[in-house]
Symmetry: C2
Subunit: 377 residues, 2 copies
């Protein structure tokens, strides 16, 4: 009856709920709460939207899970196959009574929540219902269950990446000098959906010339790409609930010596990331090696970002590949390897691959060529 | 240098910051905090993404505003023209020191926040920096500044709606019996971008047959539309930062008497919404009139939703058009008028228009025909 999103079918709802009960036990808290977002979707499979209506699934360390569901969503919730207590509420009545009934049912003193997903209005509703409830931000521990990807997860990511790479190929083939960044962005978006994207992983970054020097630039209506420009495209398709995230930087018409040298430096940093990655490496070690290449170059003052971030149902998730993060990375982890160099007012270069950690090394899920491409267009 | 999004140019950053200072004064709190989202974008114009990095603008009732900015975003932040204190932080160092410095600078005891936008990890970071800080959910008061639309806002909404209606026309023209819901959804998405959408307002709902009876259904890969099906499409384009939200339900091949009667009832409820709307009406009065039509019909047991919600930079925003909400609606307010009737296992009908309240009545921003359409396809 509903769409399955990258979950092995032999893994039941009950199995998945038990994983969160185990997190609660390991953290020594009474329960874990999930709200609509990547963890929630992973558990219930059916994707629910998170709008102004509180919606929450609570998995106690021991005992039966319970849910707080907007009445409007009850018929969709039925598809989940959840057999715990359900406390629904209607727009007309508000949700305070449902929170009170939920917490009365659960009898908990401590609750671990997803700090990056749960919003303050839900936090406050919990505290109105039970002022002494201790709410703990367990984003890292809860989302850790998503870090190691299943074979189905990897297949979904690969599908999203193939769509993204085909769209990039079509988009680059149509770029002409004099087009605006916005026109190129619109072409990229149309190509992503034409290739089968279910959604965008995020609003694409299409930035040329001085725009490429801002890591999170927005495509401009009033900037026409011209000969000599670096053109940076950072984007991704979603497929089966998983998000690709790819960056390529090409050069239009001709490349100056400076562009060639900067590009070569970023590419060497990206390749170093692959060289040092294998099961058991830490985030710190990868970032240290990658950023170390940039620091040893004449362009060290153009460093503005860390190496990357985990990738899966969320486009930014654990592990964050940054110095100081000594988290050990197991096989099955997927992260972005995206070193860059950015000089404000001049240009920027970023090369981003999606990397799967394996027992004896790693594999690039992205296959798009990354040698310096000078496009005659 | 950057894209202007539906703001009158004679309205300066300083003017807009003063509006939030006035909210703080009116609420008798020391300051208002904004995090990336629709209010933040309205103030700084440049759209920033909200990911794992805290980013916050604080406007005190009196004195200079201050901001907490991820170092990565500093160059984009420069474009905003903000002249208050800026506390930046780097991934490598974490953000606790920046929160401490920000709050030390501000010297506040109470802080009003957007409860529907701010996430728990920011709430907790604020309390780590200043455990006695009183954080108040002022979503309603802060977002109220967006309720009355400016002429530029209306133009942006109209542009988003025109794109959406053209995409719907193209999509319906290509529907064939035997297509899956998913195929029709993909066609709709491609048409939205081909017509100039910058983004989707939300993941479209394309639901036929029994799927149309679930208000928030997801398009199915394994359901092929067939003769006699109701086909419900609920979707919208974003343009210039504003979100359209439209629903039309058509019938494929032929309509049964039951479908015709249900459709007629929903249409009468939708028209009643237009009849009772003018400046000074309350949300309660509109919902009471619209739902009253449904309740007086033989299909009262198929009511599952309120009349609608405000529409603007956010696809769900104040005012919520629901009984019990006695908020008086001024001219310039835009809301969705979207009555529906849903019978599980059978079918559902929803008709949704975007309505602008005027001094002496209201105007439908959506123009797509809404008489029962039986499509021969």
């Amino acid at each position: 009856m509903f769409q399955l999103i990258g979950i092995a079918l032999n893994n039941t709802l009950d199995d998945r709920l038990k994983e969160y009960a185990a997190v609660a036990k390991a953290m020594n808290v009474d329960a874990v709460a999930l709200v609509p977002g990547p963890n929630f979707t992973r558990v219930v499979i059916h994707p629910f939207m998170s709008h102004e209506r509180p919606f929450m699934l609570v998995v106690p360390a021991r005992g039966r899970p319970a849910a707080l569901v907007p009445n409007l969503e009850l018929r969709s919730w039925d598809l989940v196959g959840f057999d715990g207590a359900v406390f629904d509420w209607r727009d007309q009545d508000g949700y305070d009574a449902a929170f009170a009934a939920l917490l009365k049912n659960l009898q908990i003193g401590t609750l671990a929540v997803e700090g990056q997903v749960m919003r303050v209005f839900v936090h406050h509703a919990l505290l109105r219902a039970q002022p002494e409830l201790k709410i703990i931000d367990a984003e890292r521990e809860i989302s850790a269950l998503r870090m190691v990807k299943t074979p189905d997860d990897i297949d979904a990511l690969k599908a999203a990446i193939v769509i993204s790479e085909r769209a990039l190929e079509r988009t680059l083939a149509s770029v002409r000098l004099g087009q605006t960044e916005k026109e190129i962005e619109q072409s990229l978006i149309q190509n992503l959906f034409a290739e089968g994207a279910e959604d965008l992983s995020f609003d694409p970054i299409v930035a040329a010339g001085d725009g490429s020097a801002r890591p999170h630039a927005k495509a401009r209506n009033d900037y026409a790409v011209s000969a000599g420009d670096a053109l940076l495209l950072d984007f991704g398709a979603r497929k089966h609930g998983f998000a690709a995230d790819i960056t390529r930087t090409v050069v239009l018409d001709h490349a100056t010596d400076e562009v060639e040298e900067v590009y070569d430096t970023v590419l060497r940093a990206n390749l170093k990331g692959f060289e040092v990655t294998r099961a058991g490496v830490t985030s710190h070690e990868i970032d240290d090696a990658v950023i170390g290449v940039l620091e040893a170059s004449p362009f060290a003052d153009r460093i503005r970002t860390k190496t990357g971030h985990g990738l899966g149902r969320d486009v930014h998730e654990a592990p964050y590949i940054v110095r100081g993060n000594h988290q050990v990375l197991p096989a099955g982890t997927v992260f972005t390897n995206e070193p860059g160099l950015y000089q404000i007012g001049n240009f920027g270069v970023r090369i981003e691959d999606d990397v799967l950690i394996t027992e004896d090394g790693c594999a690039s899920l992205t296959q798009f060529p990354k040698e310096l491409t000078v496009m005659k267009c």
